[in-house]
């Protein structure tokens, strides 16, 4: 199953992002699947240090190693896009 259709995977990703970035005032349900994570619309107010934390979370919890910031910006856009990258089929 492609990642963007796997609700359990997306919940894990949202929980990881909220925990790594200490955004405990936001629930996974409030985080939309198709919103740009690093945009104002997400309500997360993430910055470059959050990006590093998310990168570490992907490495430790999902065994995904993103080589550099270009890779990160390409992959970590929305929850759907990230889920599809982790689970392409």
């Amino acid at each position: 199953m492609i990642g963007s259709q796997d609700d359990a995977l997306k919940l894990r990703l949202k929980t990881m992002i909220i925990e790594e970035c200490e955004k405990e005032d936001i629930t996974p349900e409030e985080l939309a699947d198709d919103v740009e994570l690093f945009s104002d619309a997400s309500g997360l107010e993430l910055d470059s240090l959050d990006a590093l934390q998310i990168s570490m979370g992907l490495q430790t919890q999902f065994k995904i190693r993103l080589g550099d910031s270009k890779d990160f910006r390409r992959v970590v856009t929305t929850i759907n896009a990230l889920a599809d990258y982790i689970q392409p089929e």
Binding site: C21, E22, D25, L49, L52, Q53, M56, Q59, T60
Partner: protein
């Protein structure tokens, strides 16, 4: 002479519970991100002293700690050598020596000198002495002085590291006071005796001390040492030890407790390897 204008304490003895995060949520609805328990402990103690008052932007901050933020170094070690992962960015940043001081200064909007003093033995005493010197010399107008220590598990290992006997319970705390050279509105005066003393000097000091002055001893003073120092002299004691386990900065807890509970004059005596430091506190009338 310098003066104590505000005091605040968070204190926990081994065996008691202290959920710092929950306690912080009670005083402030907004959790400060990227802080660990040690930093939260520092923030909570400082908040107990300052509350919602606005401090002068030039206020300096001197923070003492016996062990510093040891927990973050344990996490970094585990990440690197056990889990074979690079350190978490936030942990790496928080391993800098005065990160807790930065967060406290940022929370209260103060931009003065920010010092972190860490050493084993007499760390609170030397930090207070430094603050006293800077205020007396006019280098600073107001200083927020704090002492923060977090209890580290396993307790037996920590006791050995600290050089504490097995019978003494450990503790943790975050104790703060706002100092200035201005007497108006102060809770108490404080005088950190500049000279480091030997036992004979302390004995002499105790024998010439005014009878109305209470005496308290630091947690590094054993019962035998106290008996020897008092040398049969009848002295009214200020007892704070029942509510306080050992941590390096517990001196600030004792002084804050006296200011909040006691009245009159206190001579506080602490030692490290039989080198003694004395602090005199005198409460002022409150209106």
């Amino acid at each position: 002479m310098i003066y104590i204008h505000k005091t605040g304490s968070v204190n926990r003895k081994e065996g008691e519970e202290l959920d710092v995060k929950a306690a912080w949520k009670v005083v402030s609805p907004k959790m400060i991100r990227r802080t660990d328990r040690f930093i939260q402990l520092a923030l909570l103690g400082a908040y107990k002293a300052v509350g919602d008052n606005v401090l002068d932007k030039g206020t300096a901050l001197y923070m003492a700690s016996g062990q510093g933020n040891l927990a973050v170094f344990k996490r970094l070690r585990d990440q690197r050598y056990i889990h074979k992962q690079p350190p978490k960015p936030v942990d790496f940043i928080n391993s800098l020596s005065n990160t807790a001081g930065f967060y406290v200064a940022q929370y209260f909007g103060i931009y003065g000198k920010n010092l972190n003093v860490s050493r084993q033995g007499l760390v609170a005493e030397t930090t207070l002495l430094l603050a006293q010197n800077d205020l007396e010399l006019g280098k600073e107008q107001q200083i927020l002085v704090g002492g923060v220590d977090e209890l580290q598990e396993p307790v037996a290992f920590t006791k050995r590291t600290l050089g504490i006997c097995d019978e003494r319970l450990l503790g943790e705390g975050s104790n703060w006071m706002l100092l200035s050279a201005q007497q108006e509105g102060a809770l108490a005066s404080i005088d950190v005796v500049k000279k480091q003393m030997h036992a004979a000097d302390v004995k002499e000091c105790l024998h010439t001390l005014d009878k109305s002055c209470k005496v308290a001893f630091g947690l590094r003073c054993s019962k035998e040492m106290i008996d020897e120092l008092l040398d049969g002299a009848e002295r009214e004691r200020f007892v704070y030890e029942a509510s306080c386990g050992f941590y390096e900065t517990a001196t600030l807890y004792a002084l804050n407790s006296f200011i909040n509970e006691g009245e009159g004059e206190l001579l506080f005596i602490e030692n490290y390897k039989e080198n003694f430091r004395l602090i005199k506190v005198n409460t002022l009338p409150r209106f």
